[in-house]
């Protein structure tokens, strides 16, 4: 697929050459800026703006119409600004692609610099074993869930785009409540989220996508700070059933660091019930500090992608075998739990 190849632009610097020579990333090491950002680091482009206005005026004085003059004057702008404007105008005209799930790759790309900032600077994420994720074909990523707001899904996606030799976007299963919310629902679907439903998972895997699932669901994301790094029950093992039915390998993922971003000390269950939410977190900063409380704490993260567990050899009939499904589900849960502890030790201090 051409998109897969195109995504390679996220792997940068020495890694852009090829998957073979990928050195492990040094946290906090020197990193290059992207070509597009190098032109005007942080400053407002005053020079080009003036020459843009000058050209616009000249063109209008020459008797051209406004749209044409704008197009002519745009020649004075630097290339990347012109490209950005062009893309914006095209998007305003409805000229952008969304796949049948509503995933908007251009939109996801445009948010990437922000996510990369969180990944590199804010949470200083260390991703281990991204190569355990198959480069092609149907794959189910199973991870522990924590941190009230599903930033762990986003960081896993960024890790896949940044560290994997053949970057691919992951689709993630989202609690259906999120799809009743304004803006949140749109952002979720444009970033590759789908309603957590077995039908959707099945269809995505049949389309050979990379699907991320958090079997703990809201129980995991909404657990209190005292319960941190203790994995909750893995639903009813539905994800194993679907992996077996589609013969998709399962990649267990342990995420460490997400628990500290919003230390949930209490739950305002009355408020949660009133707004129909699964939980309403109270953290040391939220809601006491209002909107400021939404800023996640800068904990240090480690994400480990474990060895894939193949399921194709069991055949789709194995999905009917309840005890086998539970056993496999429990085995995956234990793998993740022990990897979480390992990484917790490897990480050391939570914030520094």
């Amino acid at each position: 697929m051409s998109t897969r190849v195109e995504q390679n632009r996220f792997s940068r610097g020495p890694r852009a050459g090829g998957p073979a020579g990928t050195p492990p990333r040094e946290p906090g090491g020197h990193r290059e800026t992207r070509a597009g950002q190098r032109a005007y680091p942080g400053a407002f482009p005053i020079g080009p703006t003036i020459s843009f206005l000058r050209r616009l005026r000249a063109s209008l004085d020459a008797g051209s119409e406004l749209p044409q003059s704008l197009a002519e004057a745009a020649g004075a702008l630097p290339r990347d600004l012109r490209d950005a404007l062009d893309r914006m105008v095209h998007r305003l005209a409805g000229d952008y692609a969304e796949d049948e799930w509503g995933f908007d790759e251009e939109f996801a790309d445009s948010l990437l610099p922000f996510f990369e900032f969180l990944y590199d600077r804010w949470w200083r994420v260390q991703a281990i074993g991204t190569r355990n994720v198959p480069s092609h074909g149907r794959t189910l990523i199973v991870a522990n869930h924590a941190g009230v707001v599903p930033w762990d899904a986003t960081m896993m996606s960024v890790a896949m785009l940044r560290e994997h030799p053949l970057p691919r976007y992951a689709r993630f299963l989202v609690l259906d409540w999120a799809f009743t919310l304004p803006w949140v629902s749109v952002a979720m679907r444009k970033l590759g989220g789908v309603v957590a439903s077995p039908y959707n998972t099945l269809r995505l895997l049949e389309q050979d996508e990379l699907v991320a699932v958090f079997p703990e669901g809201a129980k995991g994301a909404g657990k209190g700070f005292g319960q941190r790094y203790r994995l909750q029950r893995f639903g009813r093992g539905g994800f194993v059933e679907i992996a077996l039915r589609t013969g998709s390998p399962i990649v267990p993922v342990a995420v460490v660091g997400s628990e500290e971003i919003y230390p949930k000390v209490a739950d305002a269950s009355l408020v949660a019930r009133a707004i129909g939410a699964p939980y309403f977190p109270i953290t040391p900063t939220f809601p006491a500090l209002g909107p400021l409380g939404v800023i996640p704490l800068p904990s240090k993260w480690r994400i480990e992608f474990c060895e894939p567990i193949p399921t194709a050899q069991f055949g789709p009939e194995a999905a009917e075998d309840r005890s086998f499904v539970f056993e496999l589900s429990e085995r995956i849960r234990e793998t993740i739990q022990s990897k979480v502890y390992d990484n917790l030790v490897a990480r050391g201090s939570a914030f520094i």
Binding site: P67, R91, A93, E98, E100, G102, V195
Partner: protein, 330 residues
């Protein structure tokens, strides 16, 4: 099964007339009858036009007389047009279907019934699977009157086909159609001077091009399968993309004010939006079409975005002012 004698209800609608015209060119079909209370929209060569109200018991005499082996039920009102009350739309849908089935019971020669139903039976739900398959019709409570009507109609035909196993009953669940010659809910919505949307919602919608809608019906007539079949173009389109492609100014309204504003506009004489269409604008809906492709054997030629493009291209000819799209093209 190749039908030889066909009766089409609702032949006065655009799709009904076009279907009759399409079937007329087929030499395998000996006889076509068109039933409606309004005349066909174009002159038909060899279609027998039967002027009758589908709600009247009279059709119980007319249909057996026509000695048809297939009935195509195309008289389901998706949205009451100007001068039609919700009440009479409900009557046409439910009572009309009942009368038709009563007439079908008396028609000895009948082998198959094809109903042009609606995917509206699925409703529009935020937590729904992103592609409904045919067996998911009753996952959620029925919310709007139209949805209840369609569910009721489906029930009638389901019961009928169980009671008469020799008659093949196909229930086609159509997603909304778009196209330059069509006057449908979505084209009326896009024709509004300012398009109201729910603030913060950008649902995935799915349509079918008018020509594909007819061809899918023709394919089903040639090869009727039992039970429900989803009919839609492949792919989906976000509402925002849709209105931007149509170059329409939008009025994003907060959910509590949406209904209020649309109702006020309706009272002022501007085209209103039906309750099920409002839910569609908030949560969207898409269906899985593998049964149409694999069992009926028809794959729509245009996907959803292409269908919208075709509609927009035709509409643009009628506009006076250049749009942002024209400026981009320059």
């Amino acid at each position: 099964m190749q039908p030889r004698r066909i009766l089409i209800t609702g032949v006065g609608s655009f799709l009904g007339t076009e279907l009759a015209r399409r079937l007329e060119s087929d030499p395998e079909i000996e006889y076509i009858a068109g039933l409606d209370d309004r005349p066909p929209q174009a002159r038909l060569e060899r279609t027998d036009f039967i002027e009758a109200d589908i709600r009247s018991p009279l059709i119980g005499k007319l249909i057996p007389q026509a000695r048809v082996d297939m009935v195509v039920h195309n008289k389901i009102v998706r949205r009451p047009g100007p001068g039609m009350s919700e009440r009479s739309a409900h009557d046409i849908n439910v009572i009309g279907s009942l009368q038709l089935l009563a007439a079908c019971e008396k028609a000895e020669s009948l082998r198959a019934i094809v109903v042009r139903g609606s995917a509206g039976v699925y409703g529009a739900e935020p937590s729904a699977p992103q592609f409904y398959t045919e067996e998911m019709a009753r996952l959620y409570p029925l919310r709007s009157r139209f949805q209840r009507d369609v569910a009721e109609i489906e029930n009638y035909f389901d019961t009928f086909s169980r009671r008469h196993p020799r008659i093949v009953c196909t229930m086609l669940r159509y997603q909304p159609s778009v196209g330059p010659s069509l006057d449908s809910q979505i084209t009326r919505y896009l024709a509004l001077p300012v398009v109201p949307t729910y603030m913060g919602f950008d649902p995935r919608l799915q349509f079918i091009h008018e020509l594909d809608a007819i061809e899918a019906l023709v394919a089903t007539i040639k090869n009727p399968v039992r039970g429900p079949v989803n009919v839609a173009a492949p792919g989906t389109i976000g509402l925002t993309k849709l209105v931007r492609m149509a170059a329409k100014p939008t009025a994003p309204l907060l959910p509590p004010f949406f209904g209020l504003a649309v109702d006020t506009a309706q009272r002022a004489g501007i085209d209103g939006l039906s309750p099920d269409f409002r839910r569609l604008l908030r949560y969207g809906r898409a269906v899985d079409i593998s049964r149409l492709v694999e069992e009926v054997g028809y794959r729509p030629r245009l996907d959803t975005v292409e269908a919208v493009k075709d509609y927009v291209r035709a509409e643009r000819g009628k506009q006076l002012l250049p749009t942002i799209r024209d400026l981009v093209a320059r």
